[in-house]
């Protein structure tokens, strides 16, 4: 089963990074990074199928055709920002981690603006003038 393989890789990576940390602290971050990347690349095929499923569903509903790509983009940005922030925290760089998270929030907000505008327009239309 896939999950068992993933769990084993995660534990092996954690143990290796502890062993290496005692000899050479600089190498432990490399091991953590490679473990995380391999785990993600293992899971990506399943994520692809999920996203294709959502794409096919949103293709039918004509409203979400405009907003669905925004949701997918925001999902990607949130994931990458969180991924980098976690790696920076592991490496002990709290400041960089918080800045990356802040940048991620700002970019997500930036992408979400059109959606807010369209909602406000919709509300204005509904209100009786």
């Amino acid at each position: 089963m896939d999950i068992i393989k993933i769990v084993i890789i995660g534990i092996a990576g954690a143990m290796l990074s502890i062993i290496i940390k005692s000899y050479k602290p600089e190498f432990s971050i490399h091991i953590v990074l490679s473990t995380v990347l391999i785990l993600f690349l293992l899971v990506i095929s399943k994520l692809e199928i999920i996203l294709d499923f959502f794409n096919s569903i949103s293709a039918q509903a004509n409203i979400s055709k405009i907003y669905f790509p925004v949701i997918i983009k925001i999902l990607g940005i949130a994931y990458i920002a969180d991924f980098t922030a976690q790696i920076c925290k592991d490496a002990g760089e709290g400041a960089i981690a918080s800045k990356v998270e802040f940048a991620g929030k700002v970019i997500i907000m930036y992408l979400a603006l059109p959606v807010f505008l369209s909602i406000i327009d919709l509300i204005n239309k509904l209100l009786p003038q």
Partner: protein, 66 residues
Amino acid sequence: MSIDVDLIFKIATIGILVSVLNQVLLRAGREEQAMMTTLAGIIVVLFIIIQLINNFFDTVKTMFQL
């Protein structure tokens, strides 16, 4: 680059090898060579990591349409 799991163990072996070589060279009194081997080890590991990160970012870019 394929997603091969033994990458983690490759990096771990390089790390241990470098630290052992470092100790040996330090005992032999050659600090510069010790420094060189550490740098060489880090550069080799960086090559591997950069390929992996490149593969990761390409996948994420195509998938999330970023």
